[in-house]
Amino acid sequence: MYTEEMLESIKKVEAKRAENAAMEPRRMTAEEKDQVLKENHPDYREDQFDVLTVGPNKGEKAPKELVKMLQSDSRLKDNLPDLSCPDYETDVLIIGGGGAGASAAIEADNAGEKVMIVTKLRIGDANTMMAEGGIQAADKPNDSPAQHFLDCYGGGHFAADKELVYKLVTEAPEGIEWLQDLGVEFDKDAEGNMITTHGGGTSRKRMHAAKDYSGAEIMRTLRDEVLNRKIPVVDFTSAIELIMDDKGHCAGAVLMNMETGEILIAKAKVVIIATGGAGRMHYQGFPTSNHYGATADGLVLAYRVGAPLREQYTLQYHPTGAAFPEQIFGALVTEKVRSLGAKLVNVDGEVFMNPLETRDVTASTVIRECRRGKQVDTPTGGQGVWLDAPMIDIIHGEGTIEKRIPAMLRMFLKYGIDIRKQPMLIYPTLHYQNGGVKVGTDSQTCVENLFVAGEAAGGVHGENRLMGNSLLDVIVFGRNAGKYAAAKAKTVEVGKLTLDHVAKFEKELADAGIQPDEVSPKLLPDYTRKVND
């Protein structure tokens, strides 16, 4: 499968493999990290950002593509639906059927509220399903929530909301126990001890995993539980606008059937946005590891009703997206490959960094290595460096790759590459939205009765998320949102429904001289008649 040129480079990688596997590359200093980020990280490419001219974050910068979506027309412009006879009435309306939405649904159901999930595709079609590497929790004797706090807050460049990080790390062990009680399988030894590894930027081995299907194992179990509880799931239905009441509180959503285009009205006492990330916006033209529906919908919905965003200017580029073959271009190669000891090496087979630096630093270092001319070129004009997986079996013994990262083995074997024997060619891929809608510790936004959880919410990860803190985020804050939203719903009397904010936002756009040529939320990317997504 590999080209002649690649095979030449692989010979050098093989020659140095044993030596490279045994070495312990030094960690970068804080100054070195700052420098490599500034010079290489896509977040620092000023020409790729615009300034928001309307809305709660007016005057702040965001990726061009996001600014466009936030400042586009409503899909309901000039065609507002009648709100007087809602098609659905519920206590807690959850928009999004991923890990956060499902966790929220289970907890709100526990609290005795009437819950409904609407989801653009199917329940479980979400980035949670695709999370491979694992989930963090400080539950080993040499670890503590305080240590987890330090890793998370520092790894996020000291920009996160400390109280949200506190909640994330303090409720992590209980979250794992909750999953275990639901029947989620974790990698354990014969005594039941969790088999844990490092992730980039962790100071303790606290990565819990279910092989390299960690998110899939969690998501399919949560989905099964939602179904067992008979919680209504309205699938292939997107939310295209939030509904407010005359008190200025959030009170439902306008829905659209993705197949028929039918417009439906859902009235609710409280709403939880759990719509996930934005990889399919392809910021800066990057490929993405994300799910088909990851188009920042929740940010658009919340922004239009006046909920501010935070850290919307920072995205995570996962260091190891597949760079070759082109059929899997941009697909995620789990960080667990590096957790298990595989190192990144350049065209000459040289190790150029410690592979367990944080993701932003690692991605930047990969980009730098390519800019230095130490890259391997692909036939379609791409480039990358090697992730030398065979080191794993050298370090941990034959059979480790098959047992611990079967999905990766399968993904490459489909194209004739056996990662037990050959390295993988990788390059950074758009992976995660570090920021999101600003929320308090109760997961509520500044808009009354509007909650946000999971990747759509901001403040938990600062300016860079650590591996394993996203699965943890969707569990801890999905449950948190479900509990607080349910409690809130018990006190709510919904007023008269209104969509006045749509016209108000439209006027703001006009006053700012913006004439949108698109509508938002985007809902799905457009790949029709294209060769590359």
Partner: protein, 224 residues
């Protein structure tokens, strides 16, 4: 010039670049996908696909997102298959012989044709994991079925009407909850947190000045 191949989408011919996956070929041909497309990377099972190569007798199954097109491919998708998903309370069921008999009795009608295994898009030994489920060997069933993406192709080929992915789902939850050993260090830490024993150290970190916490982070000891 890029090499092109002819594929037949539900019988209709389209010329597409030979390098594309089936999913990208559908989009290249002009389809805007809503059904039959999810994670686009082999984890969600949304894009189950059945195909036959012109002139070839064999029927193939795959995930459209992770299979390359070839010349003469006749493609149809299976974006949904009516699996039976029984409702149960995970706290009430037990990993015994009765649970499968009660929820999925059709597994005992398996005729051993192995069509499920031959059809599996993940290359799993499906008939074997059903055999484990029949014998209430749920840990083995869980391990054998672990990589299942629940696409449902196995069930579409089953003469006994078995919903294999749902049988496996139940087996894995039984295994995770009742059979795998409970984690003691996890229970200990949850208790410590509940008793407030972890509070002081974390609050101390939160009270540090920006300069102090940077210093502490940059010099923290990293476990080997």
């Amino acid at each position: 010039m890029e090499q092109m191949v002819n594929v037949f989408v539900m019988g209709k011919k389209y010329e597409v670049p030979a390098s594309l996956t089936i999913m990208k070929a559908l989009e290249y041909a002009g389809y805007k996908l809503v059904r039959g497309c999810g994670c686009r990377n082999g984890f969600c099972g949304a894009c189950a696909t059945i195909y036959r190569i012109k002139g070839d007798r064999e029927l193939h199954t795959c995930l459209a997102c992770s299979t390359q097109v070839v010349e003469g491919m006749y493609i149809t998708q299976l974006p949904f298959f009516p699996l039976i998903k029984e409702i149960y309370d995970i706290n009430e069921v037990r990993p015994d012989e009765t649970v499968m008999m009660k929820n999925y009795p059709e597994i005992y009608s398996c005729i051993g044709c192995n069509a499920c295994t031959n059809a599996c898009t993940q290359g799993l030994n499906v008939m074997q994991y059903i055999a484990y489920a029949q014998r209430a060997e749920y840990a083995k069933c869980a391990e054998e079925s672990f990589d299942c993406v629940m696409c449902g192709v196995c069930s579409s080929r089953c003469p006994a009407g078995i919903s294999h992915p749902q049988v496996a789902m139940l087996a894995r939850r039984l295994n995770g909850k009742y059979i795998e050993p409970k984690c003691q260090h996890l229970a200990d830490r949850v208790k410590e947190i509940e008793e407030g024993k972890c509070e002081e150290a974390i609050r101390a970190n939160m009270a540090l000045s920006d300069a102090e916490i940077r210093e502490k982070y940059n010099n923290r000891e990293i476990e080997k």
